[in-house]
């Protein structure tokens, strides 16, 4: 398995995260502002990716790709034959596992609260009045 020297926020992590600011009803998906992005090749495991497809929010992933400027790389919807569609799984693998935000921020779509990403680590801590 190829390892990058530093771990960064992958888009699969972004897919799981949501804004949790007090009073926010729809804080998903978080808006990515990326200052520094890196693409890093990782081993492709079709079984793993096809399982991930069932666990992620596909529209949020396509949106995330758009937000970092990678448009038209993913189909709007998951194809019906996704489990055996190797080309599709490769595209999904690239989007989920190989694109990483090193510096930037995640913004709550409703409240506008910004969570910084530094060294690839999203800091989701809230102030006392936001809990």
């Amino acid at each position: 398995m190829r390892l990058s020297a530093f771990v960064r926020m992958r888009l699969i992590t972004h897919n799981m995260l949501t804004s949790h600011v007090k009073g926010v009803k729809n804080g998903y998906p978080l808006v990515i502002k990326a200052e520094d992005i890196k693409e890093q090749e990782t081993d492709f495991n079709p079984d793993f990716i096809s399982r991930m497809i069932t666990r992620i929010e596909w529209p949020a992933l396509t949106k995330a790709m758009e937000m970092i400027g990678h448009t038209d790389q993913l189909p709007e919807e998951v194809p019906k034959d996704y489990e055996t569609n190797n080309d599709f799984l490769k595209q999904a693998h690239h989007a989920l596992m190989e694109i990483e935000v090193i510096t930037g921020s995640l913004t709550c779509p409703e409240s506008g609260r910004e969570f910084p990403i530094a060294n690839g680590i999203p800091n989701m801590l809230l102030n006392e009045d936001e809990v």
Binding site: V7, M16, T18, G120, I121, E128
Partner: protein
């Protein structure tokens, strides 16, 4: 030559025009803020761009504006402009004309704020805060002015200066970042803010202070004669961060005598307005009661102070402070009984501050050493992870330095922790992770197949918070998702088998222990006990010492002790918490090496 002159005039005229235009613009802006600008000089000057909101240092500004006459700088929080009230119109006019176009370096450095001055025909009422000083003292603080006369003061200063010159290389003197310090009786340890009671300095307190000490004792406030003295020498610009003197190591009353320069001491307490107390030379302060236990005191790093409600600026010179303390010999009976911090929290706000001081900040400090001791994964946790279907999406809440993030490569493991330092270590190990508080997880509902939460919920200080933490785990997993929780048990033996934590006792029995404060709950509020490591727990809510080897310290092999808050679980307690939560079914509950554990399913 005439050409040059001409060029200069045209340039300056163009510049003048541009500046006038700019000034008109700024005037309009100030008026839009509701300020009533007067064309004729008044005694109130508003300086555009000089506000705290424009990153201008208010201390420096005070210094600057008071050069033109007696004045008060009104504190306008967050505004980009400053308002200065002069005693008379002449001073105001002098200031406004002198400061027009003045440039001051901002606190952000590298940048200048350019001042534009206008007159106001009234003082803006809202947002005005006069808060340089307060006449009242914090409760319990006793101030006795002119406790010594000038001759006595000078004699003491001479002795101290002599000590500084001869002891400068001795172990009792040290130059801290912001002041010079001498210790007598016992050396003060800055890492733990206490003294080593087994290691007194042989000389004891210096003879020249005996007379002074007699007089302090004669005030009748001190229960016993102090045996530890710290002398701080503050040069102009020196200060001391806000602190409360350690109540475990030192007795109930502190006394401080101030010599040389005046200074201003700031007292702060959560939920109370700050109190600034002017400290005149030759004054004795006695810290008793609330001022001793609940207020923090500190001195800002300044070269001058603003006195008399902004009317007077006084430059600091060298100041000596003599702080007398009585070292508690029997820690079990220490002054900590009176300290709020050592009580079991009963409300959310106390729980929050206890977790912040005795969990979060401790982990941030001990992260490196902690990580090196937490390499080996616990077998039953690994078993749980391996039992999950292939390619599960798993969240490790309170992942620490990532002990379990790499043990099951077939899953997608995501870690989170409250400690930035620990998450940084995860990052170095190439594990995906983020920083958050487990009481509110920033994750999509039902996005995970499983969660693990190992040795985390015993750090939440109320039952309500422990339940909240479990609820958050349940929210994170899908219906049918599994959760594994481990929490430290008060029962450290199971079926007559001692846990590993206790077993190590044999090897470390000769190790020096922190004295345990085994308190009886009879006398009112429940106190937190300080636990003795590798022994049985005496109660459920405790402070557990962590002895940290200073990994990065080159100078010495210093050892700092930090106290972490724990609530150790009783048998069945964890299940009973879970049973209070809907959509939660307890699949299994067991004891594993001194921990209570549950496996839950979201239904």
């Amino acid at each position: 030559y005439s050409k040059v002159i001409k060029l200069r005039t045209t340039m300056s005229e163009a510049l003048k025009k541009r500046q006038e235009k700019k000034k008109r613009k700024i005037c309009a802006k100030l008026q839009a803020y509701g300020l009533q600008i007067d064309c004729n000089p008044t005694s109130t000057v508003v300086i555009a761009n000089a506000g705290i909101g424009n990153m201008v240092c208010s201390t420096e500004l005070t210094h600057l504006v008071s050069q033109y006459g007696d004045c008060i700088l009104l504190k306008l929080d967050g505004k980009s402009y400053a308002v200065v009230q002069y005693k008379n119109t002449e001073s105001a006019k002098y200031a406004a004309e002198s400061l027009e176009g003045h440039q001051m370096v901002k606190q952000t450095k590298n940048e200048f704020a350019t001042f534009y001055c206008f007159y106001l025909n009234n003082i803006p009422q809202e947002d005005v805060i006069f808060a340089e000083e307060k006449s009242d003292l914090p409760n319990g603080l006793i101030k006795i002015e002119n406790f010594l006369n000038k001759e006595e003061e000078q004699a003491l200063i001479n002795c101290i200066q002599h000590d500084i010159s001869i002891l400068s290389n001795d172990h009792v003197s040290e130059k801290l970042k912001h002041r010079t310090v001498l210790h007598y009786g016992y050396k003060f340890r800055y890492g733990t803010n206490d003294v080593d009671i087994n290691n007194p300095i042989s000389e004891g307190l210096p003879n020249y202070i005996e007379n002074l000490l007699d007089r302090i004792m004669a005030t009748g406030y001190l229960p016993s004669r102090p045996d530890q003295l710290t002398i701080n020498m503050y040069e102009p610009g020196d200060g001391i961060p806000p602190h409360t003197d350690n109540t475990r190591s030192f007795d109930g009353v502190l006394s401080t005598v101030s010599l040389g320069s005046h200074t201003v001491m700031n007292f702060s307490k959560e939920g109370a307005e700050r109190i600034d107390v002017c400290v005149e030379p030759r004054t004795l302060f006695l810290f008793t009661g609330e001022s001793r236990y609940e207020w923090r005191h500190g001195i800002q790093q300044r070269k001058f102070d603003i006195l008399d409600q902004g009317k007077k600026i006084t430059t600091r010179t060298i100041r000596y402070s003599l702080t007398f303390r009585t070292v508690v010999k029997d820690a079990g009976k220490s002054g900590c009984t009176q300290k709020e911090e050592f009580l079991i929290p009963e409300n959310e706000s106390d729980a929050n501050s206890l977790e912040s001081s005795h969990v979060h900040s401790v982990y941030d400090k001990i992260a490196d050493h902690f990580s090196s001791t937490r390499e080996k994964p616990w077998p039953h946790v690994v078993e749980f992870l391996q039992s999950l279907p292939r390619a599960s999406v798993v969240l490790d809440v309170g992942c620490g330095s990532g002990r379990y993030l790499g043990v099951c490569q077939q899953h997608f493991m995501l870690g989170c922790d409250r400690s930035v330092s620990l998450i940084n270590i995860c990052k170095q190990k190439n594990f995906p992770s983020f920083v958050c508080n487990g009481l509110k997880l920033p994750v999509r509902e039902g996005s995970f197949d499983a969660c693990i939460c190992i040795a985390v919920i015993h750090h939440y200080a109320t039952e309500k918070r422990r339940i909240q933490a479990i609820k958050e785990l349940l929210r994170a997993v899908r219906i049918g998702g599994k959760i594994l929780i481990y929490a430290w048990a008060i029962e450290q033996t199971c079926n007559n088998v001692k846990s590993k934590y206790l077993k190590k006792n044999a090897v470390t029995s000769n190790q020096e222990h922190i004295e345990s404060d085994v308190s009886s709950p009879k006398d009112g509020k429940q106190k937190l006990a300080v636990h003795v490591n590798r022994t049985l727990f005496v109660q459920q809510d405790l402070l557990v010492p962590w002895k940290s080897k200073n990994v990065n310290s080159k100078s010495n092999n210093s050892c700092s002790t930090y106290l972490r808050y724990y609530h150790v679980f009783k048998e069945n307690e964890l299940q009973s918490l879970c049973s209070q939560i809907t959509e939660c079914s307890v699949l299994k509950s067991y004891h594993d090496n001194g921990n209570w554990c549950v496996i839950l399913e979201k239904v």
